[in-house]
Amino acid sequence: MRLIVHNMMSCNIKGVVNNFPLRIEAEKVIEKEVDFNPDFLRHMFAKIEWKALVDGARSLGYTELPDHAPDTAALESDESFLRQFHHALLELHLEEGSLVCPETGRKFSVNKGIPNMLLHEDEV
């Protein structure tokens, strides 16, 4: 699971309000190189919850991202920032671990890189 996905997911148990971002418990993290595509990154940047990305990256051991999202001009001018964003968003993988709901503590397991977001029948 890459952080781009972590940034999209919440705990959707019925009635839970404080359900994002899911805290990452990492057991195995790997890195895989991905082709750098600035257009795609610019499009995604606008959709990303920055703090969730920064915290997510930290829990996977990557601490280079700035605390506050730079403004969109940086996307045009600052290639080194774009590379960091690219690395955090697409190249870090949580292979094994869990995503934990901040409110209920419900754990969604991540196994072989696949987050299991299916709810139990008493949670829907």
């Binding site: 999209m8 994002f20 795609f40 995604m44 696949i114 139990h120 029948e121």
Partner: protein, 477 residues
Amino acid sequence: MWFLCVFYHRLLDFRKPEVEALAELFGEEIADNESLQWRLPEHHHNDTPFHFVQLSSEEIAQNIAKRSILVKGMYELWGEGTCYEELKDSIQSYPDSRKLPFLSSGSTFRISVETFGKALTFDEQKDRINSLTYIPFEGRVNLKNPDHNFFLMEMDESEENNGLPPIVQRRIFFGREVGFADRKLLPTFQLKSRTYLGPTAMDAEMAFLMANQAKATSGKLVYDPFVGTGSILVSAARFGAMTMGADIDIRVVRDGRGPDCNVWSNFKQYGLPMPVALLRMDNNLPPWRSGLKEIFDAIICDPPYGVRAGGRKSGGRKILRGTVDPYTVPDDKRTDHIPSTGAYSLVECVHDLLHLAARMLVMKGRLVFFFPVLRDENGSEVKFPEHPCFRLVAVSEQILSSRYSRVLLTMVKVEPYSEEVEEAARLMHLEFRENHLKWLEDGNIHSSVFKPSDSSQIHADSKTFKDPKPKYRGKYV
């Protein structure tokens, strides 16, 4: 400019929509509510391989042809006629300024003869080429790798046209090739050679057509909520798109048949970039964070309608039977618990898909999906699902048996998603459901399309069904 667009005689309903989607992808300006302009050659039936299409540049025509699956060739037409004399007049009156640049002495060329519906001997072909001496070819012939490819195409009026629709009068075309489809993709990607296959894996040709309808290309993110073995995303990735998929079945999406036989390996096999994400979730109850929207450029899928793999959703009712209290999973069983699931009806599945697309597609993003229909002898109109955020831009039917077909629907997001839209969507959905239920009640065996257990009935029925199969190969191909 008008181009002669010659199609393969396959998947007839998919041919023009493919060209239209690709035209947009390659920058043809098409106004809202409009489509490309098409014209038929004289005396030709709509199912003919020959069509004229208007495009603003040769470059666009070439790009469309190269990327397409069903375009045999795009040509600049130099002349046409019902006989060789007429053809000559027609070619001679075509402006020299258009012809001479391709006939110059420094260039190489080849003329190919193609006949549709009949075969010519080598000598007959040679005679036809020799009859073109009135065209001032100055260049050298190069059969292997010419600068310019010319085609002489002939279609006869005979009844037995080898599966093509009959025409009233012979027609001959002569033109310069601008581009053609790369069908070499198909043997490379055919399912036979795919490492990880499931019973409902999408055939490679269809998967590419779907990716073309979705305008998949580099820098775009394409999502399949019913990803299965990933065959649809493989085709989108081949065209350069980033991909993401989800499925409710963890064995399919995570395990496959082992470390080198799973959804990932299907991408690795072709050297394609891996999906950005694969996850297990229920499209009836997706875990998107609130506020997330307009993230995908296209959504492409073959939803679980039950024809082959019935849909499931979270929250099975079976376990609840007999208990009064809500069912609770015991704490010690939670980790490995396999959540039970309930049946997921077509109406619900379609509703969830449209909702997903309305929220998660960017404006002008495309939703491309299959929808099953019963072939109706009375020809009554099929009601397709609707949503206020979407405009239906293409409907392509593929006939699967004498009783049912599947229709590939292409919808474009034309309105942003909002609360008001949600209400309008709810009403449209209720109407769709109502219609759908009525259809079921009317004694229509529509349900047999969706229930595999009823397949024996489909069989028995088809014996008495009078098949209006046309004399030529229509949508069956």
